[in-house]
Amino acid sequence: MKKRIKAVKKGDQNAYADIVDLYKDKIYRLCYRMLGNRHEAEDAAQEAFIRAYVNIHTYNPNMRFSSWLYRIAANLAIDKIRKKKPDAYLDEEISGTDGLTMYSQLSSSEASPEETLESLELQETVQKAIEQLPEKYRSVIVLKYIEGLSLQEISEILDLPLGTVKTRLHRGREALRKHLGHL
């Protein structure tokens, strides 16, 4: 990775394409879970990679490169959430055909239609619950449970003290429990 970053700093765009390929799944997933919408997630993830490229000279090698990328993407997603009108946003993806197409891409070929439907409903419920979280809890929950990062890494990515990360994680879990704990 160090070699690739060096090459990118010298202006080698092919080296950057390798980096995008390596991290695109993670960054896209983060954006999708934060924003709850495929189209916006794509835009945000692309923008994150473009920003990272343009600002590659500010990257501090003491930080993991993935953490740096996560930080850029999380901040972008948070900005987008803040700019959205909360009411316009909530039912955007839920009933449209767009959502159906998206979820049908997820279903595994072995599942029966009934099972698929059940898991689609569950998927929607989980995503809706995540989207209802205030953005400061949402980023911590997504980094922890969707990306599987340690509390220490999350603290680095979001530039927050460990104690704050813990508090937000606890509150986020409690808020989600109200939607999901009884299922």
């Binding site: 202006g11 394409a17 695109k24 799944d25 998206m102 995503q127 995540i130 606890h170 429990r177």
Partner: protein, 82 residues
């Protein structure tokens, strides 16, 4: 049943993998005796399992190509640097 005042915090410490043996014992013993707290804890564990098993989408296949097409031009970057 009188619940220890910090019992919910202990649940979260447990979920964070950050609980000492003494506190864990307090938590386990209390959950065995108190169905309200046991429900609360089950709800949290279930919630975590649901979130963790949320399906993972992948970006479209032309994602990298589209990022690359939007980058500032190579030559310009190098010129700025020199």
């Amino acid at each position: 049943m009188k619940c220890p005042h910090n019992i919910v915090n202990l649940m979260h410490d447990f979920l964070d993998g950050d609980i000492g043996p003494h506190d864990e014992k307090i938590l386990r013993e209390h959950l065995q005796q108190c169905s309200a707290c046991a429900d609360h804890f089950n709800g949290l564990e279930k919630t975590v399992a649901f979130i963790q098993h949320a399906s993972h989408l992948t970006p479209p296949s032309d994602f990298t190509a589209r990022v690359m097409a939007q980058l500032p031009k190579e030559r310009k970057m190098i010129r700025v640097r020199r």
